[in-house]
């Protein structure tokens, strides 16, 4: 686009010489189109319209085309499928929520971290404690050990008491049984001893009786063998 050389002169327009040289036809035309011409630019614009036929023709064309555009007949839009432009996706179900895989992944990572770090969450007397790697305070460990020991001690004492009681009962029962056995055994032995003694005595008496029977029989025989002796004989023989 050839730049317009200013042909303006004279005393009246001499003050605009500097501005004229800075604006080419396109810029001046652009300002005119936008309605932003100041007074001196308007003078220059009019001057160019008079002196530059090509420029003037463009202005004329612009006006002509502008007039036609104003008379443009905007008839109604033919029928068309307006609904096809409304492409709103259906409400997704909660299980089809796009963030679900991400949430699942995040919770999995959290679970892995909790396992690897040994995360422990405890609530004690309204206070929540989160600890990692199973580390507990020494005080808590001591408290826990003491509690466990006390519990163990109570259990052991109870067990010992029961054991002692059981042993005493068992010993008492054993002693009673032993006493009864001893008493029973003693009676039996004495009875047997007495029985043997009586038997012995009876045997001795039997022997004595047998001895006396024999003596008496011998005496009888002797008597009967020496009849003389029975009447007149000397008895002392």
């Amino acid at each position: 686009m050839p730049k317009h050389k200013s042909q303006l002169g004279g005393s009246g327009l001499g003050n605009y010489r500097l501005d004229k040289s800075e604006l080419n036809n396109e810029q001046l035309f652009g300002l005119w189109v936008e309605g932003q011409l100041n007074e001196q630019q308007r003078h220059e614009f009019e001057q160019r319209c008079l002196e530059d036929q090509a420029f003037a023709k463009k202005v004329e064309t612009f006006n002509l085309f502008s007039m036609h555009s104003e008379h443009y007949q905007s008839h109604e839009v033919p029928s068309w499928d307006r609904d096809s432009t409304f492409n709103m996706p259906d409400n997704v179900k909660w299980w089809q929520w796009q963030g679900l895989p991400t949430l699942s992944f995040a919770t999995s990572i959290l679970a892995i971290v909790m396992v690897l770090t040994g995360l422990q969450v405890r609530t004690h007397e309204g206070a929540m404690t989160i600890s990692f790697a199973g580390k507990q305070s020494q005080q808590e460990i001591d408290q826990l050990v003491n509690d466990r020991l006390s519990e163990f001690q109570e259990v052991q004492q109870l067990a010992l008491a029961n054991y002692t009681q059981t042993m005493q009962q068992q010993q008492m029962d054993t002693s009673t049984q032993l006493t009864q056995y001893l008493l029973g055994a003693s009676r039996k032995e004495r009875r047997e001893d007495f029985a043997e003694l009586i038997k012995y005595v009876n045997e001795q008496r039997g022997d004595d009786q047998l001895f006396y029977v024999r003596q008496l029989n011998k005496l009888q025989q002797d008597i009967y063998a020496q009849p003389e002796l029975t009447g007149s004989g000397n008895i002392n023989e």
Partner: protein, 180 residues
């Protein structure tokens, strides 16, 4: 008086209110359709482009931050969809290339949907390169400033002025022929 603002309709549409979206669409469909008509020159292409624009607008509705007017934001999308549309239709043609003149290429359906007075204007625009045509469209029919056109098309304001200036050079010839 009780018409809801664009922002209110957008907020409702984002919450799945189809009627709000259709109201917003009906508010701008005429502008977008005629934008498509002037940019493509064909009723069928204008309808396709309009559908693509509104699908794209709806898809990006959540990214609209109320910075600038909704219309300006929508026409920025329309411009990029239009470029894509052109590249798909005419992959070998650059944005600054002058399109091949299709003599009396307007179909019967296009004639029905194109007013006689509009036909010459649309026909003249079809002979401009896409880059110039976009600036002409936004300037004359969108009533946007050069700064807004620059923002919507991703070029500088000076480039937009230069393209309009260049477009008028061609339109001058075309209008002379048409109205001779």
């Amino acid at each position: 008086m009780f018409e809801k603002t664009d922002e209110q309709l957008i907020a409702k549409a984002l919450h799945g209110n189809k009627q709000a979206w259709l109201n917003l669409l009906k508010r701008y469909e005429k502008q977008i359709y005629h934008y498509g008509m002037r940019m493509t020159g064909k009723n069928e292409d204008a309808l396709d482009l309009m559908q693509e624009v509104f699908i794209s607008v709806f898809r990006n509705l959540s990214t609209y931050r109320n910075e600038g007017s909704f219309k300006s934001w929508m026409f920025r999308i329309a411009h990029f969809r239009c470029i894509e549309f052109y590249r798909r239709k005419k992959p070998m043609q650059g944005l600054d290339d002058t399109p091949e003149v299709e003599c009396d290429a307007m179909s019967a359906a296009d004639r029905i949907h194109t007013h006689q007075e509009n036909k010459q204007l649309i026909s003249a625009m079809q002979q401009l390169p896409l880059a110039q045509k976009a600036v002409v469209e936004l300037k004359f029919f969108g009533q946007f400033t050069f700064d807004e056109i620059a923002e919507q098309t991703g070029i500088s304001a000076n480039t937009a002025k230069s393209r309009l200036y260049g477009a008028l050079e061609k339109l001058k010839t075309l209008m002379e022929v048409d109205y001779a």
